[in-house]
Point group: C2
Chain length 483, copies 2
């Protein structure tokens, strides 16, 4: 499977331009982010992938708590009848459910579904907890696993079981609930752009793409390396739909009983897939420093034994000096050549490599290589504590800028059906006019395999003609083929 | 349900001496640690309970990482056939399983069980990953939910679904695997004693109480407030049992193929129940400062409006000064009287209360009250940053000492069957001789409802006669009624 002599890359990964899907699988498996599980459609998240997810969880959880949210935990198994209480919800989720029919050796009186999402069980509890306006708002979040039976699965992007967070909030007024949904979308945007270094388009889903049970669904959409779109997070204004389904009312300040207003919002381990495809290149992963499990790898270089001791000593000194503020790793494996190690850490997407050889020692420096640009240079040994964080910031910004430039270069605005089709065929984002009808949307999807990713926030009002039907349109929406 | 005038406790909780079981439920529900879920045997962990669990997770996870472990994630659903590969394992767990028979609207070809524990699926992956001694050890851990169908459930102590961590390690030698199991038991002991402030007895389980599939099971046992024992954590030396069941071999340094050696170990949300019962008293919870979601509550006291502004201002100054190092909360609710607040925060087990009234302000001090002893005193305002952490340390130690003294006062060593029975009937720990037979163990349980909690580590070799049969014994074991 691999030669370990450094003469060529240890790990073969498919050519990204020729077979993007295989490239993706190769990168995920060979960087050891994840592996296929023995259960169809499921995956095992390996330590490197889980460490990445932990960093994502820590950042998001911090942002949720800053905005006043508290974590809770609701049960995995939900009575089947609960799902049926919200008409659209059951229609959307029932076909995807895994069903527990037996427990403790006996057939259950009522089957239980493994949660595909937890609105129903959570609103059944909110009914117990909410009586007066004084009990509101409830700003809850849950970190959990969910199961959705999928036909075609792909590691991280679409797996039968996945990890996610699901926020579920309850409010006294419509406005508060909608503001909450928008606030959390903004949290997701900040996370995607500031941590994942992925620029996103924020907007509202069309009715056809809306969450089953929501009044409005907001989303962030990112462009992947093959120019397809990936929905990276959604937040839903639920109106009073779940409050009505579970009869959750409160007494307002005037003493009247009203239904409670709700929101829900979630992101999942799918975001790991977004990182792989959003930044990966022919060498493998490229991870943003703010999330990378290893931000800096130090590779000692020596040929003779008398060099080895000196080089390793300084390498470990560097580790000790940086470890306070940086996630740093010294690759002191003895049986492998530096070139092999370079390839391996590039495959794993480590943002910054420090090479330390006898000549570097003589010059009191290390040689660095950035994962994003491949740029190399040197840093004086005594300036490492200040220079390394600066270089990491540059990689973080560099990845964002590269992704933004790529998106801009692959986005067009058109009123021509021919250009519209060609652009979608070639891949990319297209802003075009649409008459607002779900039927038109479905026909466009049939013809182009593209969907409306969102009605972008802050779009210019612009009178135009629907790209398919020529009927009047009030503004452009974003089309793309999507994961 | 409650009067909010401060004249008597807001929340009625059952008398702890008269009805310990009801006291437990009242404390859990009324301090809002958890609530009953709509699915039988399951619970909802509310924000206060989840914050407590998060603090436990953070401490344990840090200790696991310090000892070289990495987190991973394995699937929730396990093929039923996997369970059957290890004979004792399936016998132990199959009767407790929840079974998924349908997914995506279709009947599954092979039913899937919801993991009751993950040895089987993890060892099926270790087979893929382990080839050479270079691949060992694998030091894995997983934070996850598991399901065990239980007949009698109790919030936190025994719920159909619970949250836990399960460590699963693979080693090249028997000695390493056993050392690992013992190392992790020591981590659990440190966590129980240093964080939970609960003294524990460490030892080995008898064959009858052993984990299904283990060669040896080690455990920590704590005494609860009703003098019953609670198993607070276990770690298992698995020998080569799962390696053989899943055919996991490796090539050793001599080029020979050997089966891999394993360990597994886990603690769960049951520990929240242990905290409630280990420290709780007639007023409710008493949480150790190192784990308490709120370590210090500041209660402002004022009668007139002109006092209010001044008191609240200083209360918030105190918050700002302490918040860097202490989890502090100001209870500035206006409609509630101080006495009511005192009761509520005592019910919730907050370790330290600071009262701030006009007279305190005049004297440049706050009045403090310790949750463990009820001791009150004053601290000069300008010494808060140093004095509050010291007081919290005193509460941490105070809780441990109180629990240790209680355990010592309720532990006896006896060779008299009458005393043995009486002590177990009254509640408490008993060290007694045992002939080493499972049949004797079973008969003792029938007669006394007590089980052997463990064969304590470091016990004195002592020739004696079995408490039941009079047959020879080499040393004493620990008996108690247990949760």
């Amino acid at each position: 499977m691999s030669t370990q002599d450094g003469s060529r890359p240890m790990q073969f990964i498919a050519n990204r331009d020729e077979d993007y899907a295989q490239w993706y699988v190769d990168v995920v498996l060979k960087s050891k982010l994840a592996d296929y599980a023995p259960v169809g459609g499921c995956m095992v998240i390996r330590p490197y992938g889980y460490a990445l997810w932990e960093n994502m969880v820590a950042a998001l959880d911090g942002m949720f708590k800053e905005t006043g949210h508290e974590n809770m935990y609701f049960p995995l198994m939900i009575p089947e009848s609960f799902l049926k209480k919200e008409a659209e919800h059951v229609e959307g989720f029932a076909p995807e459910c895994a069903v527990v029919t037996h427990g403790g050796g006996k057939k259950l009186e009522e089957p239980l579904v493994i949660r595909p999402t937890s609105e129903t069980v959570i609103w059944s509890m909110y009914k117990k907890w909410i009586h007066s306006y004084r009990d509101l708002p409830i700003l809850g979040n849950q970190w959990a696993n969910v199961v959705r039976w999928e036909m075609r699965t792909r590691l991280f992007l679409r797996t039968t079981e996945f990890l996610w967070q699901e926020g579920h909030t309850a409010h006294a007024t419509e406005r508060e609930a909608d503001e909450e949904a928008l606030r959390m979308l903004e949290v997701y945007r900040r996370f995607a752009e500031d941590y994942m270094a992925l620029p996103v388009v924020c907007g509202e889903k069309t009715e056809r793409e809306r969450f089953a049970g929501a009044v409005r669904t907001y989303c962030i959409e990112a462009m992947m390396g093959d120019r397809r779109a990936l929905q990276a997070g959604t937040s839903h204004f639920l109106g009073q739909n779940f409050a009505k389904a579970f009869d959750v009312t409160f007494q307002n300040e005037s003493g009247e009983h009203e239904y409670v207003w709700g929101s829900s919002w979630g992101v999942s381990t799918r975001l790991v897939g977004a990182l792989v495809m959003g930044h990966g290149d022919e060498k493998g992963l490229a991870l943003p420093p703010r999330l990378a499990p290893i931000q800096v790898v130090v590779v000692p270089i020596y040929r003779k034994d008398e060099e080895k001791a000196r080089v390793l000593e300084v390498a470990h000194q560097i580790h000790a000096r940086l470890a306070k503020n940086v996630r740093v790793h010294v690759d002191d494996r003895d049986q492998l050549k530096p070139g092999f190690k370079f390839n391996e850490w590039e495959l794993c997407g480590v943002p910054l490599r420090l090479e330390l050889g006898p000549r570097d020692l003589e010059n009191g420096q290390v040689t660095f290589a950035r994962r994003d640009t491949g740029d190399k240079g040197t840093v004086p040994l005594d300036a490492l504590e200040s220079e390394v964080p600066t270089l990491l910031d540059m990689v973080q910004t560099g990845l964002f800028d590269r992704a933004l430039e790529f998106r801009e270069n692959n986005t067009c605005t058109t009123d021509s059906w021919t250009e519209f089709r060609e652009q979608l065929e070639a891949g990319g984002f297209v802003y075009a006019h649409w008459n607002g009808s779900g039927e038109t949307e479905a026909r466009i999807q049939e013809e182009t395999k593209a969907t409306i990713r969102c009605i972008p926030f802050g779009r210019q009002p612009e009178a135009g003609k629907c790209i398919l039907t020529g009927e009047p349109s009030e503004g452009r929406v974003l089309f793309a083929r999507a994961y």
